[in-house]
């Protein structure tokens, strides 16, 4: 469709409706939290962010997001490859399952992990603790951010022509070398975008990690769980400061995403 100039009253009214809706829904709440957090000065926010509990919580958030990104990047690439290049019965169903985390309530994910790995769980571990500790939180984070890498690189893989790969084979390269030197450079951009999305989603998760990890202070507490606790304990400055920090982090990720999206999809084809 072609862009037009805004002429006449109707388009102007409609545009105003769209912009006012976005401003009231998205911008007003953000303005409210920023002004509340900084009402007592920047110093208080910085102090609130440097508390040991907060630093521990952010450390947990980062490690979980990093771990989930690593697992979902490796396994998600394999999954996308199998879904695009292999044929097997029930492929449609398998493909549909990839989207399950989008509609699976995070609380239920956490609950399933407790049922599996809790003390009386199906696979109750004897050596290491999984439920109410970081391993269950990592599993929860992997679950909620599972679709992104696969869904980003699937269409890119499907568009690849096989000529270059076949040329590589003809020249004596094995599968792994061909994948590394021919396929990866072509899907790299989509992969990176999927990784950023995975990270962003992981940083923001609350319900699944809170239930799976039990939300134990300083032990299984992420940044979002800290905000929840601070709201409960009537510690507004802590809640608002960490919320603003998470918000700034998210906006940073968003900027990276939009920079990635603007670049052409096949930068280094060979």
């Amino acid at each position: 469709m072609r862009e037009r100039e805004l002429r006449g009253p109707l388009p102007l009214i409609l545009l105003a409706a769209v912009l006012v809706y976005a401003a009231v829904l998205l911008l007003a709440p953000m303005a409210a939290i920023v002004s509340s957090a900084f009402a007592g000065g920047v110093g208080k926010v910085i102090n609130a962010l440097l508390l040991p509990d907060v630093l521990l919580a952010f450390r947990m958030t980062f490690l979980l997001a990093l771990g989930a990104m690593l697992i979902n990047t490796l396994a998600g690439t394999v999954l996308a490859w199998v879904l695009v290049r292999h044929n097997f019965p029930g492929k449609r169903l398998v493909d549909a399952l990839v989207d399950a985390p989008f509609v699976f309530s995070p609380v239920i994910v956490g609950y399933a992990l407790i049922l599996m790995f809790g003390r009386e769980g199906w696979f109750a571990p004897t050596v290491v603790q999984i439920a109410f500790a970081w391993p269950a939180m990592l599993l929860a984070t992997v679950f909620v951010s599972l679709p992104f890498v696969t869904r980003e690189i699937q269409p890119v893989l499907a568009e690849l022509t096989l000529e270059q790969e076949n040329a590589a084979y003809t020249l004596g390269a094995n599968r792994w070398t061909t994948f590394r030197r021919v396929v990866v450079p072509q899907i790299w951009h989509g992969l990176l975008y999927g990784m950023v999305l995975t990270f962003a989603r992981s940083v923001g998760e609350f319900g699944a990690v809170a239930v799976a990890g039990g939300a134990i202070e300083r032990y299984t507490e992420t940044a979002t769980i800290y905000v929840f606790r601070a709201m409960h304990d009537r510690n507004p400055i802590g809640a608002y400061s960490v919320s603003v920090a998470l918000g700034v982090l998210s906006i940073g990720i968003l900027v990276v995403m939009s920079l990635l999206r603007r670049r052409p999809s096949h930068t280094a084809a060979d």
Partner: protein
């Protein structure tokens, strides 16, 4: 999707290919199928009668009902505003459009718990706006259903826009111009030419945002609190039952919630497939 014949390398063999497939299936099986099975089995472990009685308790029924109607109200508003937003973004030039286009993804990036905190700050009972609504109009926003709808609108904002926008962008400009030249008003052009093309995308975006919103937890628990029979959604109800250790109630409602979400997702899939078959 068309199958592509996989190129066979010199030493490819079938083992490597089976290994990859095994890895992909274990990944999906471990992370998605096993939790699904565990929840379903747990929900029906003590028999169908126990399951039915666990989900027909007044608090459980009220939570499921609240979840469905708040998500439905959100889906209607979000579908209308999202379609309009996508249409304005694609068809008109206006200053600040690039920035606005970027802002749309904001709810994807902002943690939903933070969304809840922001809404409490803006519309809570102690604030100017929230106080006005509650005291003057007798209509509380926070800790009540309107807050839930607002939170769901915030987190679902990009869904319809981002499904409709690409379809509009691919539309042929000349179809529209032809309608115009033949004397159709902009409204007729929209109704007869543009709307039929984007209708599948609108329905998909709306239904998927509905399915996703039913499971929303982080923003809702902050905005709505945990008041049984009044502002407790199904996800918050499940959370409360887990905290108090009643696994039967938690599993029962989980099964219902998952069933609803998957039914909607699968019907979207079915709807799209039928359409693909037709064209």
């Amino acid at each position: 999707m068309n199958a592509i014949a996989a190129p066979r390398g010199p030493r490819s063999g079938r083992w490597g290919s089976w290994g990859l497939r095994l890895a992909a299936f274990s990944y999906l099986g471990l992370f998605i199928v096993v939790p699904l099975v565990v929840i379903s089995v747990q929900g029906f472990r003590d028999g169908l009668a126990t399951f039915v009685s666990s989900v027909t308790k007044p608090a459980a029924l009220s939570a499921i009902g609240l979840t469905i109607w708040t998500a439905a109200v959100m889906a209607v508003i979000n579908t209308i505003m999202g379609t309009l937003t996508a249409y304005m973004l694609v068809s008109y030039r206006f200053p600040g459009k690039a920035l606005f286009n970027m802002l749309i993804d904001l709810p994807f990036a902002i943690p939903s718990l933070v969304t809840g905190v922001m809404l409490v700050l803006l519309y809570g009972p102690q604030t100017a706006i929230g106080g006005f609504f509650e005291k003057r109009l007798g209509f509380p926003i926070v800790f009540a259903p309107p807050g839930i709808v607002l939170a769901l609108l915030f987190i679902s904002y990009p869904f319809v826009i981002r499904t409709v926008q690409p379809v509009l962008m691919q539309m042929e400009a000349n179809q529209q111009e032809a309608a115009h030249t033949l004397g159709a008003s902009p409204w007729t052009t929209f109704r007869r030419v543009i709307f039929p093309t984007i209708r599948p995308a609108i329905i998909t975006g709306g239904l998927l945002s509905f399915a996703r919103a039913m499971g929303e937890f982080g923003s809702v628990i902050v905005v709505a609190g945990n008041i049984p029979m009044r502002s407790q959604t199904a996800a918050v109800y499940i959370y409360g039952q887990i905290e108090s250790g009643s696994t039967q109630a938690a599993s029962g409602v989980s099964v219902v919630l998952l069933f609803l979400a998957f039914t909607i997702t699968l019907s979207v899939d079915f709807f799209l497939r039928r359409r693909d078959a037709r064209t």
